[in-house]
Subunit: 201 residues, 2 copies
DNA sequence: TGTACATCAGTGAACGCGCGTTCACTGATGTAC
DNA sequence: TGTACATCAGTGAACGCGCGTTCACTGATGTAC
């Protein structure tokens, strides 16, 4: 078939991108390699030129998803600071919005994979844990605004803020099509309570 | 083979119980009916005498899990009140304990299924949503202790408390074997921050 | 109460299907001279 | 720079396997008289 080395690298990335989308939407177990490679524009046979196994792909997907997620968080914080806006309040506003709730495909991977990662490959679990650690560092750092809290207090607050964002989003997503009104209430009041809590910080 | 009607009902419950355990641990997609019925002590053929499909079983499992979860919450609140202890603080202490974190099999189903339910049967999603609604009612009611908050404020607080419990537990569970120290920190500090928050309430 | 028959929970083999993975093959890309 | 050959990404059929579901059959339970 003949494909340049550069093209092969891009094709590998296409497989990862297609897999990330499908894994986020339907879960790893529900997506077969035939469907997945077809979504990336290939046939299933060539998959093993790029990955040793499906588990290896799962690990690569989680690596990429968590890296992108952390990069986006860093960029959002920098942008808020440049605009003179409180980066954490702005983050909460976005995180607990219905836009983010419906954006399974490219929303924060910490929430999207939170329930699944426990059952995924060891490599995927490691990537996820490292991503969460980075997220906490970023949030703790971003809490170092005009307030006087020390480093240890900021870290505790970061844990609390991330947990609340993840919990509210996961819960709201879990209910959004069986009880959309309650899902909206959870999202809205969870956001307000968290912002109220941050206002007093 | 010949089994009494009473026995048949008990056998159906055995299948549901075995399925709940396996679904909690490994996810619905990863558990086959052959394995599942074998775990309940039967062969796979008889499964369809009890359930129309695997999806119908998933719905029955979620019904039972959420009903039991709500009943346990109600019982815990009553017990705390009888003992003169703050029911919510006690609930948080248990919910965000390492015992509960490691108890996937019979821990709170709201957390255990939070990430999965979105992809399960419509019936399961409905049961889940109703269970969450009941949990919120119970928590809001239990917040009506010695304080003066009105009903609407208590409901907002209930949403915030449940979200934080779910988020902290789900996040800690997601990391517990890739980074147990950070998982412990999340669980501990998440609990302390939530208790601190409740103390001022 | 005893006998004859219908019911239906449970068995275990079988169905078609898609899974993850392997393999012989193709042919443009990349390399050696 | 041009030619001969090796590399290896991608193809598509095939592997064994377990999936959800169906089915003919068994035989104790439950019912009718």
């Amino acid at each position: 078939v003949g494909v340049s080395r550069q093209q092969a690298i891009e094709n590998r990335q296409s497989i990862i991108a297609a897999a990330e989308k499908l894994f986020r939407e339907r879960g790893v177990d529900a997506v077969g390699l035939t469907e997945l490679t077809k979504a990336a524009g290939f046939t299933q046979g060539g998959f093993y030129n790029h990955f040793e196994s499906k588990d290896a792909l799962v690990t690569a997907v989680m690596d990429k998803a968590m890296e992108n997620g952390t990069n986006r968080l860093v960029a959002a914080i920098e942008q808020s600071r440049a605009a003179g806006v409180d980066p954490i309040k702005r983050r909460v506003d976005w995180y607990l919005s219905s836009d983010h709730r419906s954006n399974i495909n490219s929303g924060c991977p910490v929430s999207t994979f939170a329930g699944d990662v426990r059952r995924l490959s060891a490599g995927a679990r490691k990537s996820y844990a490292e991503g969460v650690a980075s997220n906490l560092d970023c949030i703790a750092d971003a809490l170092n605004g005009t307030n006087k809290a020390n480093k240890r207090e900021r870290r505790k607050k970061a844990i609390s803020v991330l947990s609340q964002m993840v919990g509210t989003l996961v819960l709201s997503r879990a209910m959004v099509d069986a009880d959309p009104d309650l899902a909206d209430e959870i999202l809205r009041d969870g956001r307000r309570q968290l912002l109220l809590d941050l206002a007093g910080y």
